[in-house]
Symmetry: C2
Subunit: 288 residues, 2 copies
């Protein structure tokens, strides 16, 4: 953490996580965390935490992992051994609030050598739906590798590069799973999921032309958190990666037509990749 | 709705609400909605929906209102007579996705004369914690009454004025309740809840000086959705209001020290105000 004020505070309340330095022994609760996996919806992250619990052989005693921040429903937080799972909601402001409190949490808990991975779903560009994209660089809607953050009434521009070595390590893990297409590419972060629809202000043709330009700029998928995630983790020295499955090919249209069961299987692809990666890091056998 | 494409679509999937024109009879489900109340957390909105159910004398048969979008936990949606309650998560992108699908929903359901109110919590400026602010104008972090929205790779600037008559009507209702301070003022919408903390890039003094300038510009509270809410509802011709309680006075510091029970009572103040407003609109007796 890069905050001189932190040490000066007698108490630190992580309001949205419903945790605090006076109310919780953070080093005891979180000090041994080595991997943090974040994703948008609470119901999406709980089964991932359950999968990690099984894969790491922590099922003993059984039962679902408990939400460590049960006092709030803004974010859900689960533990499975050294893996902490946190939901972050939709969009940059929501993930920024969570990352801010998470980074303070990791600092207060005295965690060391933490790898953080955002896993989720996204819109794809020019690939078969169900393909998985590992992000090398997050770009904004102008295809620029930057995150513009308002700090009071000034705008600070931050870099959005992610850890290249980590991305390649993840790609190698996916090649060992070899049951879905995985590639490394740029991820475009948008402020609004819909640029059309109820508030249509341009033609479908114009949008398709824009998405083709994005593709030609190296963008392979679009979501709503990558630039803030990359910039914030980079600034705080956390090794970070983004692994998102694509639910559709936006060059073919923006309404998801696949049945929910198919979408759920797609959603689990990044989970299996991350599980394999963490098992390899921990020196456990990869289950396939 | 201002979207020529809508009529042309054979099917419209409201993905994040888990509703669709082919899977749901939207006019039958939602056609008689007259009031839409939105707020950030699902657990915050359910008790509000329960309160509305009681206040409108719809408790008959009892039971908690069911989440109409149970297939997703991104947003929670409840009905109490003509009152639809929807959660929107934190920040502009999250509320934008919900508003987009909600506005399509109201259009598809053929709703008429809908009043939409955002209720929530906020940081106050220069007022006793627990005071309620009715927003006349939402401003950005530069104190400007504008919402800059990226549409593809262009930036569109929209107005953030709210309905003055509706704001005054709400103020009159609060005067009838006369048990907490309510006032009309500007609301400042920020992209990040924390401009300091883990990523501190300026001094507390600089922040306090900024917040004082905001106060002098007429800002009475700060939250994270108001500019997008005001601009989107205005653009679609929905009469809209924002009513937020202040949990603390940011001029006195940014950590909430009040016990959770006190914060919960604060949170209920806008609910009681909106309940009184809706009862008055429906010609029911105001319970005090």
């Amino acid at each position: 953490s890069a905050n001189p004020h932190l040490e000066a505070m007698d108490e630190d309340v992580l309001y949205h996580l419903d945790l605090g330095t006076r109310t919780h022994d953070l080093p005891a609760m979180f000090g041994d965390v080595k991997f943090v996996c974040v994703g948008d919806s609470p119901s999406g992250m709980r089964p991932f935490a359950e999968l990690m619990q099984q894969e790491l052989g922590l099922g003993g005693g059984g039962g679902r992992p408990a939400d460590l921040c049960a006092g709030t429903d803004r974010y859900a937080t689960f533990r499975a051994g050294p893996v902490l799972t946190v939901s972050h909601g939709m969009g940059i402001p929501s993930i920024s609030v969570m990352l801010h409190e998470l980074i303070k949490l990791l600092h207060r808990a005295k965690c060391r050598d933490v790898t953080i991975i955002r896993i989720g779903t996204s819109g794809g560009l020019g690939m078969e739906p169900g393909s998985v994209v590992i992000t090398d660089t997050a770009v904004d809607s102008f295809f620029q590798a930057r995150f513009e953050q308002a700090v009071l009434d000034a705008v600070v521009v931050r870099s959005t590069e992610l850890d290249k070595g980590l991305a390649e390590e993840l790609l190698r893990c996916s090649e060992e799973l070899h049951d879905f297409l995985t590639l490394i590419g740029h991820t475009m972060c948008t402020y609004n999921f819909y640029e059309d629809g109820a508030l249509c202000s341009f033609s479908s043709e114009k949008k398709l032309e824009y998405l083709k330009r994005a593709y030609n700029a190296g963008v392979r998928n679009t979501e709503m958190e990558s630039t803030a995630f990359a910039a914030t983790c980079g600034l705080c020295g956390l090794k970070a990666a983004i692994v998102c499955v694509t639910l559709l090919d936006r060059l073919e249209g923006d309404q998801t037509r696949a049945p929910r069961a198919v979408l759920l299987e797609y959603q689990q692809r990044p989970w299996r990749l991350i599980a394999a990666f963490i098992e390899e890091r921990l020196g456990l056998a990869v289950k396939t």
